[in-house]
Amino acid sequence: MIKRIRQIVVVGIISALLWLAWSLWTGFFVGSDELVVWNFDIGQGSAALLKTPDGQIVLFDGGPDARLLSKVGSVLPSWQRDVDLVLASHPDTDHIAGFVPLSKAYKVNTFADPGLFEVIPLENSLLQGFLEQKTEIKSLQAGDILNVGGVEIKVLSPSNTEKLSSDTNTRSLVILVTYKETSLLFMGDASTETEKRLVKEGIEPVDVLVVGHHGSISASSTEFLEATKPKWAVISAGRDNNFGHPHPVVLERLKAISTKILRTDQMSDILLKTNGKNIEINPHPLPF
């Protein structure tokens, strides 16, 4: 009996130590004054998680499959089961399929998209998952501003006219995330057409650019890159993908303006931390 009790105590201590280790590991991103952004290595697709200084969780795109759940599960504490805001850039499978299992596993408070989810079945099923858990559903367009836990999310695209386009990439959501003095631009799959408009409207330089359309040649025009002058560029693409993303020309354009390139296909998950002044951005492969 004493032996049995001893075994249970040992098991308890091991669990507590594991829990402590994990808490310490994830602790750097709990309760600090930092904005933390994970660009997940999600294969050929795109998904990013933002944790605001006051601990709110925002997801921008969900990747092509259920891998999103493992990524989110790896960076959030095991007991955290809700996500404050889910943003879907546009209704392409490689950006939103992961939200279907997410809607069954996590409580999502608000879901926002460019208001395009009406035809394709995947979106119907995605929306159904959110409707079942009574998620607030918002439609966004250029000019909208969301304030989430001290971080400003400004919607730059789609404009009223872009929303009518038959091309889903043109209708993609583009957001500018600003925390104090730092800024991050998430391009979704927006094409050069949108970029042209943004340059025309006088887009300002940003610290980090999450490159449009996985580094495809259909985005990241020279004019746009010269206008935004990113210090870092993050490219979310799958290893040995069939599309040849990122395109060598795009890589050359980024190098030409001395932008440091971080690629999920080569470096796996990429972690960014900022206190609003300084930015620390490094590859940080998650175990799963």
């Binding site: 994990w22 499959d65 259920a66 891998r67 493992s70 989110v72 299992p101 596993a105 099923s125 799963f288």
Partner: protein
């Protein structure tokens, strides 16, 4: 022949072995006049046996080989009264059918096995494996569907005969992302209710525990690695731990062996320990959905239980051969075309035949938490399955013994924690999320250890000329078995009192 089969027990072994041999011969004997020669010889031999002439036992053996052969032949689609559907179509075809068994949740999609096929009002032979996106309606076993899709044949993947593996399950074609023309809910059945319960359990667990932990503990409890990401599956394969996630004889038998080992050390006694394991197996069959693979795995686990859980041991070779004959009588194509079955069966046989020997060799290990049983059992099963692994995969996990030594003792604890946490998750997921620490910690520990152990390049080695090594290792194992039983027989002869 009589010299070899000089006791009733041995004669039974020969009879069962002859049937198995007949089934194994199946693919190599063309269905032609040659088959009728076999059948004629078989029945003549039976008469020979009936009239009891000298050497009639040989006649019985020939008859059993013939019956095995016939059993294989009648499992061919040619013998079905239904027509076979066109399995490769240039354009979309419309067909209807009924979803059979579990809806498999894969990493990117769901998979349905559609049976009772009908095309233009005519019933067709076989089943179709259908992949549907996450957006497909939430359907279950027994639901009727009408689909439009381009059919294609399964092709071998490298050396792996995926086509034959599916053929063993009577799957004749594949259909990806069909247009679902209509669906109709099936009527109530126990099987349907079990699958619905299983789906509900997974749904609730996911609300209370992060991934990949949920998929891992779910696979651990009920079998099935489909939910695990391909990267993690590779980690498990490289470390020789895939068996813990499969509804296989390997997993269930090993679990039975370890659980029995632990229970036998408690004051419960042999009888209670035996019945607790039987009850656990019964619960497992129900909760794992009672699929053919699960029932097979459980049957094999019963062999292990009888081998180690009862005082008067039955003849082990007979027990193994009987279970093999029963399984092949039900599904003859398993023998050559289902690697899962081959691994399951041989791992169980390995446990029964070699675990004792490995237990002796592992005497330096502590018995706490079943550590010794876990390693000995795993080594016995790995040793026996070596030829199959080399033949089919050409790769060998070097790190498997260490990985199994570290991970297997934690498995029963993880299962116990998960089992006790599960009811809370079913009743109220938010509460379960707050108390998921033990389940999370142990599953996370196993996943991380597996990930770390699979990282070195030497964790798993590609063996050159693997098939040659497969044959050599098979012969080596056969020699060991023969020697082992010959020695045992000699020992029995020596202790027989003189009359």
């Amino acid at each position: 022949m009589r010299f070899l089969a000089n006791t009733p027990s041995k004669r039974l072994l020969f009879v069962l072995g002859a049937f198995v041999f007949g089934v194994a011969l199946g693919p190599w004997v063309p269905f032609s006049s040659l088959m009728w020669v076999f059948v004629s010889i078989g029945f003549l031999s039976f008469f020979w046996f009936l009239i009891g002439v000298r050497g009639s036992f040989l006649g019985l053996i020939i008859l059993c080989v013939t019956l095995g052969l016939l059993r294989f032949v009648v499992s061919d689609p040619v013998f079905s009264s239904r027509q076979t559907m066109v399995v490769q179509s240039e354009s979309d075809v419309v067909f209807s059918g009924v979803i059979e068994g579990e809806v498999e949740e894969k990493w990117r999609n769901f998979r349905w096995t559609v049976t009772d096929l009908e095309q233009e009002g005519i019933k067709k032979y076989g089943k179709i494996l259908v992949s549907v996106p996450y957006s497909a309606p939430d359907l279950l076993h027994g639901d009727k569907v009408e689909l439009k899709c381009r059919l294609r044949k399964a092709e071998p993947i490298g050396d792996f005969r995926y086509d034959q593996q599916l053929a063993a399950r009577k799957i004749i074609a594949l259909c990806s992302y069909p247009r679902i023309l209509s669906f109709e809910q099936g009527s109530f059945s126990i099987k349907r209710s079990i699958f619905a319960l299983k789906e509900f359990m997974l749904f609730r667990m996911r609300q209370a525990l992060p991934e990949p932990n949920t998929s891992f503990v779910f696979g651990l409890l009920f079998g099935g690695a489909g939910l695990i990401s391909p990267d993690i599956s590779i980690d498990f394969s490289r470390t020789g731990l895939s068996h813990i996630l499969a509804a296989s004889g390997y997993n269930v038998s090993l679990f039975t062996f370890v659980l029995l080992g632990i229970l036998l050390k408690t004051p419960l006694g042999r009888r209670w320990s035996f019945w607790i394991v039987v009850a656990s197996l019964g619960m497992y069959v129900v909760l794992a959905g009672g699929t053919p693979a699960v029932v097979r795995a459980t049957l094999m686990a019963l062999v292990v239980l009888l081998a180690f859980g009862v005082r008067r041991k039955p003849s082990l070779p007979n027990l193994i051969m009987l279970s093999l004959a029963i399984l092949l009588c039900i599904t003859p194509r398993l023998f050559w075309y289902d690697i899962g079955f081959q691994l399951s069966f041989v791992a169980t046989a390995g446990l029964v035949l070699f675990a004792d020997w490995f237990m002796e060799k592992c005497a330096f290990l502590p018995k706490t938490l079943g550590i010794r049983e876990a390693l000995a059992g795993s080594l016995a099963a790995t040793f026996a399955t070596l030829p199959i692994i080399l033949w089919h995969f050409g790769e060998l996990s070097i790190i498997a013994p260490i990985a199994n030594l570290i991970v297997l003792p934690i498995i029963p604890i993880t299962m116990v924690f998960t089992g006790s946490w599960l009811p809370v998750a079913l009743l109220y997921p938010p509460l379960a999320a707050l108390i998921n620490l033990p389940v999370w910690a142990f599953s996370w520990g196993i996943l991380v250890v597996t990930d770390l152990l699979s990282s070195p390049t030497f964790a798993s080695l590609k063996i050159p000329h693997a098939r040659v090594f497969a044959v050599v290792s098979l012969m080596f194992i056969i020699v060991i078995i023969i020697k082992k039983y010959h020695r045992k027989e000699m020992a029995q002869t020596l202790v027989q009192p003189k009359v």
